[in-house]
């Protein structure tokens, strides 16, 4: 069968262009991160990694991910269930609302939280009077991260659950299954991959958020610095190697994210071809 663009010359040209551009725009930056991090040798790299501030930044970043991912997972599942399985006034609006974090510049996301929970904010005065600190402490960082990552799981699930329809679940209801059983036995197996993909995206963003977090973190070394903030501060300290050392951790995490995603997709296609 003849297909468009199958002539060897065209094919070679296009593949060549694609490879060159990919190498230039995607691979080279990745290589540069590790090259810069290892510029002064592996010993310096380890030394930079075991720096107390870097370790605390790793800890905080993990804490943020550990809280945001499950919370957004639960929320995303419920929201997707709501908008794909029921019709009610305002359904469309709810779906648009959930897109807001995509449209909001991260700096603005930080700003709105600061305006609300800061000492001069609406809730901030009360919180301050009760000695509850949200801004410039980890709860604030968690909150803005929740904000910027909340669409990911829902956005992955909604199109899929919409396409699948609710016939299977309705059948299960007529057989007398309880809500929980239906979700676990019928829905979950169908959406497992999308769910995992959503979790991966949420996690990547939660770990890497910079703009919003930088507004509410207060830059206290060893206390409210997440890894991306640590990268920026080390960079500002003329410590390029240190900055890229922390950056390399984030890049490593990014690569793991990509690998996890690739594996998921591979499994999905294998399942498809098997059936």
């Amino acid at each position: 069968m003849i297909r468009i663009g199958d002539a060897p010359r065209v094919r070679r040209l296009l593949i060549g262009a694609a490879l060159v551009l990919t190498a230039l725009f995607l691979l080279l930056p990745l290589v540069a991160i590790f090259a810069q991090a290892l510029m002064n040798g592996i010993d310096v790299y380890w030394q930079n990694l075991s720096d107390a501030y870097t370790l605390s930044a790793i800890g905080l970043t993990l804490l943020v991910a550990v809280i945001t991912v499950p919370v957004n997972l639960v929320f995303g599942v419920f929201l997707a269930w709501l908008v794909t399985r029921f019709d009610f006034p305002g359904r469309r609006l709810l779906q648009t609302l959930i897109d807001i974090p995509f449209a909001v510049s991260p700096v603005v996301a930080g700003l709105v939280y600061l305006l609300l929970y800061g000492r001069n904010g609406w809730l901030g005065g009360w919180l301050d009077a009760h000695d509850i600190q949200i801004m410039f402490a980890w709860p604030g960082i968690v909150l803005v991260t929740l904000f910027v990552t909340c669409p990911f799981v829902a956005r992955e699930l909604i199109p899929l659950m919409q396409a699948q329809g609710s016939r299977e679940e309705e059948a299960a209801v007529t057989l007398g299954a309880s809500g929980w059983t239906i979700f676990r036995r019928v829905t979950l197996p169908n959406i497992r991959h999308a769910l995992l993909y959503g979790v991966i995206l949420t996690n990547a963003r939660a770990v890497g958020e910079f703009g919003a977090v930088s507004v509410v973190a207060g830059a206290i070394r060893g206390e409210t610095n997440t890894l991306p903030l640590q990268v920026e501060q080390l960079y500002q300290d003329y410590n390029t190697v240190g900055a890229f050392t922390s950056a390399s951790l984030l890049a490593l995490l990014a690569l793991m994210t990509l690998a996890a995603k690739a594996v998921l997709e591979w499994r999905a296609t294998r399942r498809e071809t098997a059936t």
């Binding site: 296009l14 490879l19 929201l79 700003l111 609406w122 309705e170 979700f183």
Partner: protein, 284 residues
């Protein structure tokens, strides 16, 4: 009509969990999304219309809209071309390392923007790996609009690739054959036959890339020169106003960015909806 809608709705609610999922969703949306956003509205309401107008039409700010829109447009156009190429190559051809290239396409979403920012700034500065090669040619990228567009393009690469790819995969083989048997050249066949199929996905992806670029901050900030009227992006203006304790001003500028992005997102959604309707409408 109404009665029909009501019964249909009741039918749909055979599934359990409406109350619970509605409760959780609304609580979350209210607390995490709406409540903070009301504080933005609160700040804005302290301004009179004329003050608001004065703030958002400041010449320096107007120039920053220009820089941001231009950078985002260049980035989006680049991504449209690059994304189309990548989608085509990844769907149509087999070559060694294809899986790797495919996986790499998502890198910009997985890599934190601040990391992307310092890396691009390092690579393209006049003593960086790439900047060094371009310097003798008289091309400087860092601290010029090219740098801004580059950072924006990098962070939004996946949009076009990932929207076009599935459409291209679903394209029936007969389409190709029909075009080729008519004796059309590759490029003509592509333009006349394939492109119309891809058009909606391409526009959606490019639009999303554009919206994302408008709000980008972390990656751009390291490579943009921040020179008034030339390399100052709107996100930076918001940041500057924040530093000046000018919350009302920051909110005003933020509201412009937010409104533009939301309007664009809505337009993309509508366009997509219309397209899908047309597609499904045809098949009944």
């Amino acid at each position: 009509m109404i009665a029909h809608a009501l019964t249909w709705r009741r039918e749909r609610r055979v599934l359990p969990g409406f109350g619970l999922s509605l409760g959780i969703s609304l609580t979350f949306v209210s607390l995490i999304l709406l409540l903070p956003l009301t504080s933005l509205v609160g700040q804005l309401s302290q301004l009179s219309w004329s003050q608001y107008w004065f703030l958002i039409t400041d010449p320096r700010l107007l120039a920053s809209y220009g820089v941001t829109l231009f950078g985002a447009a260049v980035a989006a156009i680049f991504n449209a071309a690059f994304g189309l190429l990548m989608a085509w190559v990844l769907v149509r051809y087999e070559f060694p390392g294809k899986r790797l290239v495919d996986a790499l396409m998502d890198l910009p979403f997985a890599l934190p923007t601040a990391v992307a920012g310092i890396t691009l700034a390092t690579l393209y500065s006049s003593n960086g790996w790439i900047g060094r090669l371009l310097e003798p040619l008289g091309i400087s990228i860092s601290y010029t609009w090219i740098g801004i567009a580059l950072a924006m393009a990098f962070t939004s690469i996946p949009f076009v690739v990932r929207t076009v790819q599935p459409v291209l995969e679903d394209l029936p083989a007969e389409v190709d054959e029909a075009a080729m048997t008519l004796g059309a050249s590759d490029s003509l066949a592509f333009r006349r036959v394939i492109l119309p199929y891809l058009w909606p996905a391409l526009v959606t992806g490019t639009g999303l890339a554009f919206v994302r670029s408008l709000g980008e901050f972390g990656a751009v900030i390291f490579i943009a020169g921040g020179k008034p009227y030339e390399t100052e992006i709107t996100s930076l203006m918001i940041f500057v106003k924040l530093q000046e304790y000018d919350y009302a001003g920051a909110s005003a500028v933020a509201s412009i960015v937010l409104a533009t992005s939301l309007a664009l997102l809505l337009a993309i959604n509508l366009w997509q909806g219309r397209f899908i309707k047309r597609l499904h409408g045809g098949r009944g």
